[in-house]
């Protein structure tokens, strides 16, 4: 046992890293083939790139709390941070390899352009790495990770149930990010938003809510007994509304991240673009709640 241990940890670690990389490619490939991402990436300034990396690390850290790419089910808070750094690192390497393979980065590519492309393509890859444990796990009963609270204050019953509700919301977040991420950088969003008649946005909102409700509740795909037992079941209407708000927050974040919206744009543009992207995001969120 003592002799096989050193060999074992390296093999296990390699398996974990490759699993993470596989998850990264699964998630990252759609954006690899999106021309807008390359051009947005090439044209982005340095501070913005750093901000994108920072936001990615934050989201990956949140995902690592419940998903991650290692099999570990109990996690020390510092370990969660370290695993997020590793996930981001794996994401950078995978994205770089893919960009080189597709010749988006060559020897002649100027440094700033290569960095921009790399940073923007890293985002979906890193998210994929952080979700690798659950996306590549075939068995239906998925185990959620438990991250130990940093201090005793956070382990009070009220806060624990708030945390559980947030864990439930992460399915919405993952689904919405997955769908919205590959739509947000495209030119179709402002194009669609610009061509809508004034009150049409209300119709889009209604459709988003209706589809989200229909997918999760009316279609009756889900087995909700498990969540009901944990006492987390919000009423269907409330859950749909909360999920829609989450989808809208994700949409606006994505649009800002991809510089589709900036401060000089009028608020009407912010509103319409966000609501237009909110439709696919809320559908993704609903799908996420069913599947994850």
């Amino acid at each position: 046992m003592t002799q096989s241990l050193p060999d074992n940890i390296w093999r296990l670690e390699c398996q974990a890293v490759f699993k993470g990389a596989a998850g990264g490619y699964l998630f990252g490939v759609p954006l690899l083939y999106t021309v807008e991402v390359w051009s947005i990436g090439s044209a982005t300034g340095s501070w913005w790139l750093l901000a994108v990396l920072g936001v990615t690390l934050l989201v990956v850290w949140l995902l690592t709390q419940v998903e991650g790419f290692r099999q570990t089910l109990r996690l020390h808070p510092i370990e969660a941070v370290m695993e997020s750094v590793e996930a981001l690192g794996i994401g950078v390497v995978c994205a770089a390899l893919a960009l080189i393979l597709l010749r988006r980065i060559t020897v002649e590519t100027p440094l700033s352009e290569a960095l921009g492309k790399l940073v923007f393509e890293t985002v979906p890859f890193a998210l994929g790495v952080a979700l690798a444990r659950s996306t590549l796990q075939g068995r239906p009963p998925r185990d959620r990770r438990i991250t130990a609270p940093l201090s005793r204050h956070l382990s009070s019953p009220t806060l624990a149930s708030v945390r559980d509700a947030l864990v439930d919301l992460d399915a919405t977040v993952i689904g919405a990010v997955l769908i919205a991420f590959s739509i947000a950088p495209t030119e179709e969003v402002p194009l669609l938003a610009a061509s809508l008649p004034p009150l049409w946005l209300l119709l889009i909102m209604a459709a988003s809510l209706g589809l989200s409700y229909g997918i999760v509740f009316a279609a009756g795909f889900t087995d909700r007994t498990e969540r009901a037992q944990r006492g987390l079941l919000l009423s269907p209407i409330t859950e749909t509304l909360v999920a829609y708000l989450v989808a809208l927050v994700i949409s606006v974040t994505m649009l800002v991240l991809f510089q589709q919206l900036n401060q000089t744009d009028p608020w009407q543009e912010w509103l319409s673009n966000t609501l237009v992207l909110g439709l696919p995001a809320s559908i993704g969120g609903a799908a996420g709640r069913i599947l994850i």
């Binding site: 050193p6 390699c14 340095s46 990396l53 020390h76 996930a87 390497v93 440094l111 700033s112």
Partner: protein, 151 residues
């Protein structure tokens, strides 16, 4: 018997490692995991370093252009293909760089060509050709950058 024959395993039927206390040390992190962490950190620090270096070197220098027209004019089917190369000698990227070529020939009037380049990063070179019906050597050829957009 089992004591003498199993020197390394003091408790062969011991279960999986006991769950660590919820907020204890993280001793269960293996050496391999530390190596991964070290490599990942190095990659990220390197990336951030490159971004900062690029900012230091390039971001404060606005786009500037240098257009060179090649002497090697190609003649195919009576048309003259004049190769050109444009380089962004500045640091920042330029969008929609507009290159115009004007060929003035005595008594024949002007011939013009236009070319738009979508993205031209700092230090990047892109090449193409202008096509004329008249021999550019017999007239006055002016190739220049007319305009560009900032991203």
């Amino acid at each position: 018997m089992d004591v003498s024959n199993s020197p390394s395993n003091s408790s062969p039927d011991s279960p999986q490692p006991v769950d660590p206390p919820p907020s204890g040390r993280f001793t269960e992190r293996s050496l391999a995991e530390w190596v991964t962490f070290a490599i990942a950190s190095l990659i990220l620090i390197g990336l951030v370093g490159l971004i900062l270096y690029d900012w230091q070197v390039n971001q404060n220098r606005p786009p500037a252009f240098n257009v060179t027209v090649s002497e090697a004019v190609r003649i195919t089917d009576g048309r003259y293909y004049v190769p050109f190369a444009i380089t962004n000698t500045g640091g920042r990227i330029a969008n929609g760089v507009q290159i115009t070529a004007e060929l003035q020939i005595e008594g024949e009037g002007d011939e013009t060509g236009e070319q738009q380049i979508d993205f031209l990063s700092g230090h990047e070179t892109k090449a193409g050709s202008f096509v004329f019906n008249h021999d550019p050597d017999s007239g006055d050829l002016v190739v220049r950058v007319a305009s560009y957009r900032l991203p």
